[in-house]
Every structure is written in C-alpha cells, then in structure tokens.
C-alpha cells in the first residue's frame, strides 16, 4: 500500500481528461513568448532577430533601468495650517460610532489616521451588535469610492444646493397643493431622532408618508409578531440560554433577522463547559448549517412541513412520523425551556407556529419581551406605495438607501409607476438603477460623515458621529429634509459648538438648527438618564436603558388555521425548488461594487466574483450538468436558463456543491447589477445574475422552477478546489465528539494522540525529534496565535480585517482564476467524506486512483470544518532555509519576518512552504490601470494603512502576525514605563473575531490567555497543522468538538 501512495493537487487531477494529462506533463501552463528570437522551427540560429537586435534590446533595457534608478523625486510635506488639538500626525485615534447602511448594522470603533477612517473595528464594550461582519468592515471602501457622485444633480446635470432646494420645494408645494402624497421610501430606519424629525416634517406636509422597504423581506416574521404581540418588531433571542437549537432554514450566523448571534452562539459552545446541540434543517448549505452538529438537508417546501411537524409534536403533543425531524423534536422535548426553535421562512403562518412552539417550551432563549426593531418591516406599505404611484397619487418620491429598481421583483412595475411621479429625489451617492432615474440627486453622506442614532432593539441605543470631513458637496438626508421644511426646527437650539469627538470636523457655523442639534436635544432630554452625559454616551457609542421592557400579553390565537395553511401551501411535490439566499460576502447587493467583498471567497463554495446556481452532485448528474477544470486548473461550469412563474433568468452558471438538498437549487442575491460602480462589472458585463428577478411574491422559496441547459460555459474563480482532506485528516483538521472529549476529562490519546515519527529508536513523539537547535526564547515576548476550530464559524470577518490592516491588494477575477489571490489569511473549508478504506474495499474501489477519487468525493450531506490558515510562523521554517538572499528570517519574538525590500522574487520560499500561505506579487497592484480597484486612485488609496508598506511587483508577501501592531504596543508600554500586558497584544484578525476563536499573545507571559491555551496540560485540544513535518509553528489549533452522540 505504501508504494502506491500518491498525492493530489486537486480533484481535477483525478479526472482522466486529456486536458489534465497535458498540463500535468508541462512545467508552465503557457509557453514563454520567444517568438521574436526563434523561427518557425524553433531554431535559434535562424532567428529573425539578429545579434544587433539582441544588443539593442539589452542596451535599451540597461539604459531604461539606469534612467529609472536615477529618478529623484521631490517630496513635499504639507503641515496643517491649524492642527486639531487631539490629532498627532502618525498616531491613530479611535472613535465609537455606528454603521448602518440599511442592511447591515454594527456598533464600531473607527480607526482614523490624520483625520481619515482607515479601519472599522469592533466596539467590543457594546453589549449588542459589537462585531462588524465582513460587509460592515468593507463598507469603509464605499466612503472612498471614486465612482460615487460628488455633487448634487438636477436632471443629471451638476447643480448647487440652492438650486436643489428650489426645485424640491417647488415639487413639495405642488404636491401639497394638489393633495398628492409625499412619500419617503427608505431602508428600515431605526433612528429615534429621525422619527422625531419625520414627525416635524409631517406637520409641515401632512400628506407625507414614510415607507420603509427591506430588499430581503422579513415580512412573515414581523406580521406574526404583530399578530401575537401587537407591535411591528421581531422577537429577541439570547443564544447563550439555548442548550438545544433547532433551526429550520434560519441562517442565524449569517443574515437572519439582522444577525448578531454568532458571539452568543459560540459562547455557549465551549466544549470545556456547556455546549449547545444544534440541529439544522435546510436546503442550501449555509454558514449556520456548516456549523451544526446535525444537518438535515430538506427541500424548501419540506422546511415548512418540518415546522408543522415540530408544532404538532411539541405544541399539540402528537406523535409524528417524519424520520428527519424525530431527533430534533426529541432533543427539544428533553431540553424544555433550554430549547429554541428558529425559522428562516418568510411565511407568517410558519412563524406563528414557531412562536407557539417556543412559548410552549417556555424557551428562555426566546425573548419576545425584548423586541428587535432592526429589519422589522412588512411588505404591505411598499406595495401600497407602488399602486399609489401608478394611480398618480404620489407627487414627490424621496428615496434613501434603497434600490427598488434592482431589488424589487416587480421592478418594471415600479419604473412604470415612477413615470407618474413629478418629483423624484434620490439621496443616494451612487447613480444606481434607481437613483439614475431621479429628477434630483440630493446626495447624502456616508455613515462616516454623518450624525445619527439607532435603536436596533429595545433598551439599546447607539450613536453615529462623523469621523471625517465631508469629502464631497453632500448633505445628509436629515439636513436636506430640514432645509425643505423651511430651515427651522421649533424648540431646537442651533448649537454653535462642534460636538464631534473628532475636533477636525469643522463646527457647524450656520445659524440654523441641524439634525445634529435635534439629535443632541433628543438624547439629552429623552434618551439619556441621570448620571450619563451626552459626551460620555458619544465616547461609548452606545447607551443601554435597562428600564425599557416591552410588556407582553400574547394574543390568544387559534393556531390551527395557520397549521392547515402551512401544511396545504407547502404540500410535497416532485418539482424542482429554488431557495434564494444572501451570501456572507454580498448580502442584498448594495455593495456589489466593493472590491474587497467581490474578492472575498464565499466561506462554503470558496468562489469569488460570482453568483451561481448551487446544485447537488446527484441532481447535476441527472440533468447532465458538469463542472470541469480548464487547462490552467481553474474551474468551468455549464450554464442553464432558470425559470419560475413565467420569468426566466438566462445563462446562470451552475456550481456543483455538497450539502445541497436533492430536489432543490440555490441562488444568491446581490449580483447582476446593471448600474453600479465599475467593480460590479467585468468587461462591461455585470458580475453574476440578478436573483431578485425570481423573488416572486418576495418569497425566497420558489416551489416550481425549470432548469434548461444552454450552450456555452462559465469560468469560476475559486480559491480552493480541493474539497475533502483526502484521508489526511489526522494532521490537517482534527475533530472529535463531545461524548469522547467529555469536557477534557477523557484520555487525550483517544481524540488527540501525539503525532509520532519513526526514528532509529522506534516511533517518537514529534516534539522529541529534532535535528535543529531550538529557538532561544529567553528574551522578551514570544508571540503565538491560537485558533479554536470549535469557535470559528467561518464568517470571514478576519479576512476583511486583514485586508484593511495590511493593505492586501485586490487582484480581480482573472488573476484569482490563475490562483494568484493575495489573501494573507484564508479560511479553508473541508467537507467530510463518508468514504473509508473499508468501505472502498467492499465496493471494490480500493485500488489506486479509484480509491482516491472516491475519497475526494464529499458526502451528499457532509460535515464541514472551517480552518483559518495564515503564515504559521514556523520556528523551523522551510521558507527561511531556501531563500538565497535571506529575505525571510526569524525574529526574536517568534515571527517569521518577510523583508520585501530584500526579496528578489525567486519564489523558492513559496514552493517550500507546506502551508502554501505565501503570496507573490505578480504585478504592481497599486497605481496600475490593469487593476482598476481602490488602489488605483487617490481617493481609494486613502484607506491604506500608513504603517504598512504597499508591496511592489516581484516580491513575496505573507502574514506578519501584524508586527506593526505588536511593535506599536511595545513602544506604548515603553513610553508608559510599564511591562507589556496581555491586553496590549493583538492582531487584526484576533480583534475582528466575534466568537473569540483567534487568541493572540505572549506565551512566556504566565498571565496571558494564550499561555493557558499553549499549555498542553490545560488545553488538551491543542495541535499543530501538519505536525509530522516538525516545523514547530507559532500558530496552533484547537481541535473541533461536535456535540454528537455516537451511534
């Protein structure tokens, strides 16, 4: 068997394609261009280019190189005229604020340098919404978006604010005179101060109407809550109180109801203490499903049936027969008040049943008494608005942070109805599908430039403050409304002082009230209680009022009609079903032109720059749909036309994915933008297809779709092609079950046996075999990073944080297809396979290639492991020994240092790295028109971190363990004359991690968290990646524990 051992680069390698054979036998995927020097027969002596030509080439390149080297630019340095007090050039300041773009919400700390925000970090002290996800972190790039509008427009032409005010006032007065409605169409607004302002606006224009619109509808859940508790809201959840979680299609680690459950979920999933058990019934493999202990793939319609089953079993006490829900029902019954049922359905009746089940369980985690207002929007108002518009009853339409022309399934109806509106004002900075139709573009400001507040849930308020001077001629939406109300707010004093914590924001000198004044007055008079000042609230960024509780008296409803409706509406059928979903990196698509998000690999499919139809392997085989590698190893796929309810999406690429329920397909929202910034397009064509066109009835479940294969193929850009661990599980990803682990009490050799190497003295543990001298750790700190595979949900917040901190370039789809992505930190995703040597033997597939091909195939419903991998900072680093110029060497603090200016680009190090974490700059990615992303314009480059160099072409780069952050912390400690503390030390990824999966620190400091984790006696889950290579990394992993009962 040993002699037959083979290693595979990817699954394509296993296919017997001739294309693969061809590339395997070639060193380079393309020929080196030698044309000018060789004749047709490839003989150099008959070359077309003469010796003199050769000398010309050499001479020119030498001269060019000399000239380039002689350049001596004059560098200018422009100091402030009047330096703001708290600002010191070269030192970062942090301000607490809030980011809410209508879709994602988070309390954040804004890291600013010289008055410009360069990174969004968690406002970790905040009790809720403290950890920004990938999209919130990446939203910083939209502040510096060169494609945005820079001044207001009237009829598409630049205009002054005075002209805008005149034009809009005319429209408003005309509408008021004609008795027409003035509608404000916004993303769900949760600002208490804006509600006050809107009240004032309504006093002036009584026909004004505020229409909140949510592109991803939650209407069913909101209506259900309204029916039971009499308020437009969503119920609150506390996942730390749930021992058993049954989720039916609810992606609560992703977008479900506004998110913010990851931390609570992970806190209650500590294998050394209490650990929840998580059942997930879903169609598409979601981030939440990938983390579940038990995942049951079901068709979308069967999800509703499952809810009905659980309702019957728990609430009505009936016996049910469906095998797939039995285990979940049993677990919920046993757990009682420690159980929780959540559901992702947009069906009011299904959500009513969920409420009934949770109340019957007396679930402690289910908290309808603390309602959530974020995203609590029903669909009825917007439907009414469109019919009003069509009937000519709307005179003025104001739209803010919404894009119904793109995100509405009835976009044509909306565009038609819009023709009857005399004055359409858009506040959006982008001329997107909707804003480009506006008569007036009264551009509002980015959250980083505006004042604001929010009340995402009861008793919890956050503040938003500007942290940069307005970049363009913009005016925040609220101030525009004040201007159109006549510029006066009765009873509100115009504050002349600047209240922003950032004193470089110019004070408001206008002698008229602004939204800031209203906000401040509202907070000091109505929101803040005694003992808390406005300034301290501004400093914290949030305020909690514990006295606010929603008194609940649930309506006494009869649930049987709801049950009947659910069971009949989603009656089982053999038809193909479609589940629409939102991707971790894209959400509803408002940031489709954000390069960080486009290049962010989807945690599950590992695809970048795309959306696609996810389909199970079995289904694909039945439909004759294929994925295959091209000659360069990148993945290609078939295309289909997808139809539902008479609508057709053309040329949808198909990606075969594991875990997709048979009989269903999945498609992500957020792609196929027609009008957006240039990054949303490749070669002039929109990236992906617009799934909103199939969002008929705003229902993410379409129960009868037709798939028709069409000609042509589509090229995917996947960053990871291998899917399973090919039987090498013991040294890459280790996992066990809670039963075996037994809170760390059982023998370690049962689940984490030490890696052994054969030596002359027999097999020895790796730690005792060493041909190198150990590193001298006697001086100063020694940094280590601990990664807990059990806490990592794979959300990718660390990936974007790393981008922002380390100026990681974006390379574009074409380069990703060539596997030249630059992510310093990747989150590998592995599917479990149900193949074993024994099984293969019994199936007669245990020989050679057939066995490996079987191993490569993930199970139909695989278990999933996420593994963040960055440079492992090996103490015996294979890269260091092969560098001919010593450009990578080991530091005294444990880091493997990469010296860009010393690197000559041989790439030996990347070849020799067993973890494949080194990234090569094939091109100049900054200031290069071929990579026209944010680093190609002055505005976009404002986001760069000035403490980290932008690497140039031809050098290798990789994770540095954020040495710029640790060095800054060390200097701070020196200046403050104190020893280094554990809290000083962190990296960008560890800071961003909501679940605490990443812990960074000094292992020689006995008080540090990482010291405890590094101690193998205390942390029995610790292991090293590919430990048998004996590289002695400074990054270590803690194995994953699934809360499964072994059968």
């Amino acid at each position: 068997m040993d002699s037959a051992k083979k290693y595979w680069k990817g699954f394509g390698d296993l296919a017997s394609d001739t294309a693969w054979e061809a590339i395997r036998n070639r060193e380079f995927s393309t020929e080196t261009p030698m044309g000018p020097f060789l004749k047709g027969d490839g003989k150099a002596y008959e070359a077309r280019a003469s010796r003199r030509d050769f000398l010309k080439f050499v001479g020119f390149s030498t001269a060019a190189a000399t000239l380039a080297a002689c350049e001596g630019p004059v560098v200018h340095s422009i100091p402030y005229v009047v330096k703001p007090d708290e600002l010191t050039p070269g030192i970062a300041d942090y301000y607490a604020s809030t980011v809410y773009d209508g879709h994602d919400f988070s309390s954040v700390l804004v890291k600013t340098r010289e008055g410009r925000p360069i990174k969004l970090q968690p406002n970790a002290s905040s009790p809720h919404y403290a950890y920004p996800n990938t999209r919130v972190q990446a939203s910083l790039l939209s502040l510096y978006d060169i494609d945005g509008l820079k001044q207001p427009l009237i009829a598409g032409r630049p205009a002054s604010w005075a002209q805008v005010d005149e034009r809009v006032n005319q429209g408003l007065e005309a509408a008021a005179a004609a008795g027409q409605k003035i509608a404000l169409l916004t993303a769900p607004v949760i600002s208490p101060s804006f509600s006050l302002l809107w009240g004032r606006f309504k006093q002036k224009y009584p026909s004004a109407e505020w229409v909140p619109y949510n592109p991803l509808s939650n209407s069913g859940a909101v209506e259900a809550y309204q029916a039971v508790y009499g308020q437009i809201a969503l119920p609150g959840y506390d996942f730390t109180k749930a021992d058993v979680i049954v989720s039916v299609g609810a992606d609560f680690l992703g977008d479900w109801f506004g998110g913010d459950h990851s931390r609570d979920y992970a806190l209650h999933r500590n294998p050394d203490q209490a650990m929840n058990r998580h059942f997930q019934l879903e169609s598409n493999l979601s981030l939440t499903g990938a983390n579940a202990d038990y995942r049951i793939p079901v068709k979308p319609s069967e999800q509703a049936q499952a809810i009905a089953q659980i309702y019957r079993a728990i609430a009505l006490g009936q016996q049910t027969r469906d095998q797939r829900t039995q285990a979940a029902i049993q677990a919920l019954r046993t757990a009682g008040p420690a159980g929780l049922l959540v559901c992702g359905s947009n069906d009011k009746d299904a959500q009513l049943l969920v409420d009934a089940v949770n109340r019957k369980l007396k679930s402690r985690a289910y908290q309808p008494e603390s309602p959530v207002y974020l995203k609590a929007v029903t669909d009825a108002p917007v439907k009414a608005l469109i019919s009003d518009m069509a009937a000519g009853r709307v005179g003025v339409l104001l739209s803010h942070r919404v894009n119904p022309v793109y995100s509405s399934p009835d976009s044509r109806a909306f565009v038609e109805a819009l023709k009857n509106v005399k004055t359409f004002v858009s506040f959006d900075r982008k001329r997107d599908e909707t804003a480009s139709l506006a008569h007036v573009n009264a551009i509002s400001r980015h959250p980083m430039e505006s004042w604001g507040d929010a009340k995402p849930k009861i008793g919890f308020y956050t503040l938003q403050q500007p942290t940069i001077r307005p970049l363009f001629q913009s005016r925040q939406m609220e101030d525009s409304l004040i201007a159109w109300m006549g510029g006066a707010l009765e009873g509100v004093d115009a504050a002349l002082a600047n209240d922003s914590m950032a004193t470089y924001i110019p004070p408001v000198t206008e002698n008229r009230p602004t939204f800031h004044d209203l906000l401040k007055q509202n907070w000091t008079e109505n929101i803040l209680q005694e003992g808390t000042s406005w300034v301290s609230a501004l400093r914290a960024g949030y305020y909690e009022r514990r006295d606010e509780r929603h008194p609940i008296s649930p309506a006494d409803l009869d649930f049987s009609p709801a049950l009947t409706r659910v069971e009949s509406r989603y009656a089982p059928s053999g038809k193909m079903e479609l589940q629409l979903y939102s991707k971790v990196g894209m959400g509803a698509g408002a940031q489709a032109d954000n390069p960080w998000l486009q290049e962010f690999p989807d945690p599950l499919t590992r695809a970048t720059w795309d959306n696609y139809l996810t389909i199970s392997r079995k289904q694909a085989a039945e439909l004759g749909l294929k994925n295959w590698p091209d000659s360069k190893g990148a993945l290609n796929g078939d295309r289909v036309n997808l139809s539902a309810k008479g609508r057709t999406l053309k040329n949808v690429p198909v990606l075969i994915t594991a875990g997709q329920a048979y009989g269903s397909v999945g498609l992500a929202f957020g792609y196929g933008r027609e009008k957006a910034g240039k990054t949303a397009f490749i070669d002039g064509k929109p990236i992906g297809v617009n799934a909103f066109q199939l969002y008929v009835g705003r229902d993410p479940i379409q129960t009868d779709v037709q798939i028709e294969k069409v000609d042509g193929s589509h090229g995917f850009a996947l960053v990871q092609l291998y899917r399973t661990m090919m039987g090498r599980g013991e040294s890459i990803v280790k996992e066990t079950t809670a039963q075996v682990y037994d809170r760390g009490k059982s023998d370690k050799s049962r689940y984490n046996p030490p890696e052994k190497l054969p030596t002359i003295d027999g097999k020895q543990p790796v730690s005792q075999v060493d041909m190198w001298a150990a590193r001298d750790r006697s001086i100063g700190p020694w940094f280590n990073l601990s990664i807990d595979l059990n806490a990592c949900t794979g959300c990718g917040a660390c990936v974007i944080a790393c981008h922002a901190e380390n100026n990681v370039p974006v390379v574009g789809k074409d380069e990703v297809r060539r596997f030249r992505d630059m992510h310093w930190l990747r989150i590998d995703r592995y599917y479990a396979t149900d193949m074993s040597y024994e099984r293969a033997e019994s199936e007669g597939r245990s020989e050679g290639r057939a066995f490996f091909r079987a191993l490569e195939r993930p199970a139909e419903n695989p278990e999933v492991v996420f593994q963040p991998v960055m440079c492992q900072h090996c103490n015996h680093a294979p890269c260091e020994t092969v560098c001919p110029v010593a450009a990578t060497s080991h530091g005294r603090q444990g880091q493997n240092q990469m010296i860009y200016n010393r690197c000559v680009g041989t790439r030996y190090c990347a070849n020799n790295c067993p973890y494949k974490v080194r990234r090569f700059n094939w091109f100049q990615y900054a200031e290069n028109d071929a990579f026209d992303f944010h680093m190609n314009n002055d505005l976009g480059r404002m986001v760069l971190n000035p403490d980290v160099v932008v690497r140039s072409r031809g050098v290798m780069e990789k994770c540095s363990l954020c040495i710029q952050m640790t060095q800054a912390s060390i200097l701070k400690a020196k200046r403050e004359k104190r020893p280094l503390r554990d809290v000083d030390l962190t990296t960008a990824c560890a800071t961003a991690c909501a679940t605490g999966a990443l812990v960074f620190g000094d292992i020689d400091d006995e008080h540090s968290r990482v010291h405890q984790l590094h101690d193998e006696e205390k942390n029995k889950r610790k292991y090293y990646l590919l430990e048998e290579l004996d590289t002695k990394p400074n990054v270590f992993y803690n194995l994953k524990v699934r809360n499964k009962i072994e059968t």
Partner: protein
C-alpha cells in the same frame, strides 16, 4: 612730489574724520535732548514696552518712533506712569488715544524713574534703520557661511588666474616653437642621421610588446580593474544617498535664528517627535504663537514672515485673523526621505533612546537652510544600533528584559543590537 601727495592725503583724511566726528556729535546731541541714554532705553523698551509697541508699526498699541516729537515730555511722563489717572483727569489727548484703540488698557509703569522714561524716549527718537531692501541685501553676506560673497570674489580671481595661465601657455608655446626652429636649423644633419637609424630599427608588434612586459601588464591591469571596481562600488552605494540635499524651501526659514540664536527647543515646534513616528513640521498656528508679535525678522524683514500670515490669514495691520479666510497650507520640501518600506519612529529614538536631534540631523542650529547631514543608509542605522546602549534606567518595561539580556550576554549595559535591533522585521514591514 610723492611726499607732497602723502601729506595731502593725510590732511584730507583728518578733515573727513573731523567732519564725521562733528556730525556724530551733533546727532548725539540731538538725541540727548531729553537727557536720555538710547542704549539703556533700548533695554528698557524691550523689557517693558515691546510686547505691545513697535517703533514703526502698530501692534497692540501705536508705533512709538519719534513720539517725543509728537507729544510733550511732561504729558508722556504722566501717561507712561499712570495713563488711567491721566484719563480720569479728563485729559483730552489721553481720552482720544483710549478711544482710538477701542478701550485697550495700557499697563501703568509707576516703577519707571524720570531718567528711565527719558532713556526710553531717547531710544524711540533714534532715526529709523536703512530701507528694507538694503537690509535684506546686506543680510545675505552676513549669514553664516557667507558663501555668496566669497563666491563672487573667487570667481573674479579665478578668471584673472585663468587669463594669466592662458597667457603663459601662449608664451610657452611660442617660445618652444622658436626654440625648435633654432634647433632644427642648427642640427639639420644630425637629425637626418637619427631618422635614418630609426627607420632601420624594427618596431615591436603589440603581442611581442605584451610578451616582453607581461608582469607589468598584469599588474597594471589588475590595478586598473581594482580601481574601477572600487569606483563602481562607491558610485553604486551612493545612489539615492542624498547627503547634503538642501532644497530651496517656500519660506526662507532659518533654524540658525530660531534654534541657534533664540535657543528655541527643537521639540517646541516638532512636538510630534515626542509621541509619534513623524517629527512633524509645525502647523502654522504654532508659528503664530510667536509671530503674532514678531512681524519683522532681523534679516529678511517682513518678507518671509508675511508668508505665514498669508497662509493662515492674519492681518498684521489690524492685528486680527481675517474672518472666513481660505487658508493656504505651506508646501514644504521634505529633506529627510526614507523609502516607504522603512519604518522609523521618532518617539522611539527621541523619548526612549534619549538621542539628541543633532545626532542624526547634524548642527541644525547653525543651518540657515536645512540640509541632509547623515547618510540615512541602512548601514548607518545598523552601526548606531550596534554601538548605542539602550536607556533602561527607571523603566519597568525593561526590568525583566534587562535581567534576561544581562544573563545571556554577561554584560551590564545592553546595546540596541542585543535587544534585537538588527532584526530585519523591526524596521521593515
């Protein structure tokens, strides 16, 4: 005759000096009218009056040049001693002045004696200095190196020298030609004989020559190669080493005057050096801390200082900031440039290392225009890290590390290199 001439000259000198002495006396006599001593007056003026008054320009109070000619001495004495009392007495002039300066109250100086006031007034009665254009021009030669002055004279000297040399050369050439002609005429026959002999002798080919003198060729070849390599090495290592780089700045700011003569601490203006990686060029509001009151420099007059005012919008006439002024930031030229891939932190070196600014930046306090003093190459950095001891005293941060290092190297003092200051990753990331 010569003798007579000398006498005449001597006489005329004596005459001139007598006249000059008379003139000087008369001027002094004029100044001494009030019986004051202008030298003592200058000191008193600078100590007591200069914060609000200038001689020729409005500051907070009126300009005081020749004030003694405008008002009576008695009045001035009263006003200076206690202007409030004078106003209370209903003096019309006093009230008018008070009105004109919008009720700005002048400090009373009861401590000044009559003699002292007279001294001050004597000082104010001195005639104004030369026009500014002259001061500016005359300032140049006195500034430090006096480069421009000597430059002009050496140029002329060089020209003359060159002319003389050229002349000598011409003479030498002519002389040799003449000598040659004479020689040829004299020894015609012998020369012919020599030429015949030369033609008969066989010339050595290059190869033969090389074979004959191989060791010499090898020696000189190697020498030439060595010199060329050394030259190339010197040339290449000097690429982008900009020692002596002295760009022209938008404002002729002189560190010699500020840091040298006025002894202003470097960190007063470059305050970020204490906190941050950048030392920072001071913002204009820092300049205004002093230049609000100093509108005129000793050497450049108002010309350069006016540029600060233009940047920030200060009206020296009205002594006020111009409202809603669009500020014009000053575009300085950066002298010390490190490449992007180097991380250098001023605070680390200035605060923790306690290194004087001059160690790297040279004698800035003598520079009129700042130039790059050090090489700023990596070898230069590293060398200092090897030689410099870390300042660990009274800093608990170093306690543990010092113990560890002392144990490892068996020394009491620890250099930066021992701390790990030679590691690439400490400065390159």
């Amino acid at each position: 005759m010569i003798h007579q001439r000398g006498i005449c000259a001597k006489r005329s000198i004596r005459l001139v000096s007598t006249l000059f002495a008379c003139a000087l006396l008369s001027v002094q006599g004029l100044h001494a009218q009030g019986g004051g001593d202008p030298t003592a007056g200058k000191k008193l003026f600078n100590a007591n009056c200069a914060s609000c008054h200038k001689l020729d320009r409005k500051l907070i109070g009126p300009p005081l040049r020749n004030i003694a000619q405008q008002r009576s001495l008695a009045w001035l004495h009263k006003w200076i001693r206690n202007n409030a009392a004078l106003r209370d007495s209903g003096d019309r002039d006093a009230l008018a002045i008070f009105e004109e300066y919008k009720g700005q109250i002048m400090t009373a100086f009861p401590q000044l004696s009559d003699q002292q006031i007279d001294d001050i007034l004597a000082y104010t009665s001195q005639p104004a200095a030369q026009p500014k254009a002259v001061t500016a021009a005359s300032a140049a030669p006195t500034s430090g190196t006096a480069a421009s002055n000597t430059g002009i004279s050496t140029k002329a000297f060089n020209l003359i020298l060159l002319a003389i040399i050229a002349l000598l050369l011409v003479i030498i050439i002519l002389m040799t030609r003449v000598l040659k002609m004479v020689y040829e005429m004299k020894y015609e026959d012998r020369l012919r004989e020599l030429e015949r002999q030369k033609a008969a002798k066989k010339r050595l080919s290059f190869v033969e020559f090389f074979e004959k003198y191989t060791p010499g060729f090898v020696f000189f070849g190697l020498l030439l190669f060595g010199v060329a390599m050394y030259g190339a090495w010197v040339y290449l290592t000097a690429i982008d080493v900009n020692t002596g780089y002295e760009p022209i700045q938008p404002i002729a700011f002189s560190h010699r005057i500020h840091a040298g003569e006025n002894k202003i601490n470097c960190l007063y203006c470059h305050s970020s050096a204490r906190h941050s990686k950048t030392a920072g060029i001071p913002s204009v509001n820092v300049c205004m801390n002093c230049h609000r009151y100093i509108a005129e420099g000793a050497e450049t007059g108002t010309r350069e200082i006016a540029k600060i005012y233009k940047a920030i919008g200060w009206d020296p006439e009205q002594q006020a900031y111009i409202p809603n002024y669009k500020t014009r930031p000053i575009k300085w030229v950066k002298v010390h440039n490190l490449p992007d891939f180097v991380y250098f932190n001023h605070a680390q070196h200035v605060v923790m290392g306690q290194i004087a600014c001059q160690t790297c930046h040279g004698p800035v306090e003598t520079m009129d225009t700042v130039y790059q003093y050090s090489k700023l190459t990596m070898g230069w950095c590293i060398n200092c890290h090897r030689l410099t001891d870390v300042q660990m005293k009274d800093n608990p941060y170093y306690e543990k590390i010092h113990e560890q290092l002392a144990a490892k190297y068996g020394v009491k003092k620890v250099t930066e290199a021992m701390m790990g200051g030679l590691e690439c990753g400490r400065c390159h990331y």
